[in-house]
Symmetry: C2
Subunit: 204 residues, 2 copies
DNA sequence: ATGACTTATGGCACACTGTGACAGAAAGGT
DNA sequence: ACCTTTCTGTCACAGTGTGCCATAAGTCAT
């Protein structure tokens, strides 16, 4: 990896961290692009070359998580019930956050706090979640051997899985640690699996 | 109702219809507030006194639907399983669209077409859906006799119900009629109810 | 009707977001 | 060193959204 790419990655993360801190410090709405750019010592124009806007910064984790979910799902055995595979994908997302680097763990927790304080951001995350659902639905449909467009059950499976994710993610306590989130997510997965009829996601 | 309020309501709907037509005609992004205001012969400034922005216009139906869901849920018997009540609320939304006025029916279908063409709008609808979920969760928690904040099952019930709504709403065919949407929603409700264990939403 | 009161509207200025175009700087390869 | 590719900053511009204030329209007394 050349110097160029390393520098770009460094800038991308510097913007992310500066923005996150500013958002938490003085509020999301009242933080301007100019301030963020100033803190990283780049021009506002350059900011837009790394992120499409303020929103995009706040959704950094979402893109990351989606990638992991898709990869995990693809790696699960083809004869496993799709919802079960999706629950494994959920666990994989948290495993990744907890495991990789302390920096990412901190960013994750900052984003969680931010979303609690600003429901609009949580909404945006859901909005992007819709695109994620679409991609997951394609994968699930392929495994089920049906066309994604006209199989309602496929979409229902994915929708239920994403609901489970959201409920597990929205730990109500603001002083929550990663461990708390992890545990809540685990409880939530158990709750969801216990609510559904065995084999419900294998029907035609 | 005085002349003032009637006139306001008329303006509000005139803006909605003009905006919807412009969106479908020349695309959502490339339609400006100025154009909409021009079509209704009001100043751009006044537009913002009726709607908070272009997005808000596109979410007209959502606000309407949420109101109906909340009212329907509140009107269901207190000993009915909450998920069942929510499914009734879903049906009530469609009943209302189909029943009331031809104008609203047309607006509903225009919005559906618009959302299919512009996934971003569907996302925004989901974003607002998050606020709706919050309000529904409060109602469901009250019926279950628990605190909304720390009862995960409450949120799961609402989340599953909203997933069902979304899947039913996203009829894939763009030439769909109201009847098609209605039928698809009915199928989807049946599918969801058949996927869940009886009594799952009554547990503690 | 007339006047006084309340509310809606239009016009203006302003800050912020986001994008295209272009010139100069930095990095890569030879 | 040279040329090529890519990144960066500056400028200009269109659009969104809000505060402010004067004016117009509606409401409600007498």
């Amino acid at each position: 990896m050349g110097l160029r790419e390393r520098k770009k990655e460094k800038t991308r993360l510097a913007i992310l961290d500066a923005a996150l801190d500013l958002f938490l410090e003085q509020g999301y709405e009242s933080t301007t692009i100019e301030q963020i750019a100033g803190a990283v010592e780049i021009s506002p124009r350059t900011f837009f070359r790394y992120y499409t806007g303020k929103d995009h910064v706040a959704l950094w984790f979402h893109d990351h998580g989606e990638q992991i979910m898709l990869e995990t799902f693809a790696g699960r055995p083809a004869d496993e019930p799709p919802f079960t595979s999706l629950m494994h994908a959920l666990r994989a997302v948290l495993n990744d956050v907890e495991g990789v680097t302390p920096e990412n763990e901190e960013r994750f927790m900052k984003l969680r706090r931010l979303m609690e304080e600003h429901p609009r951001l949580m909404g945006l995350s859901m909005a992007r979640g819709r695109a994620t659902e679409q991609r997951l639905a394609t994968a699930v449909a392929a495994r089920r051997g049906v066309a994604a467009d006209d199989d309602q059950l496929t979409h229902l499976i994915v929708g239920f899985a994403m609901s489970t994710l959201r409920v597990g993610f929205e730990c109500p306590r603001s002083d929550a640690t990663i461990g708390d989130v992890r545990q809540r997510m685990a409880e939530c997965i158990e709750l969801a699996e216990g609510s559904l009829r065995p084999g419900w996601d294998l029907r035609r």
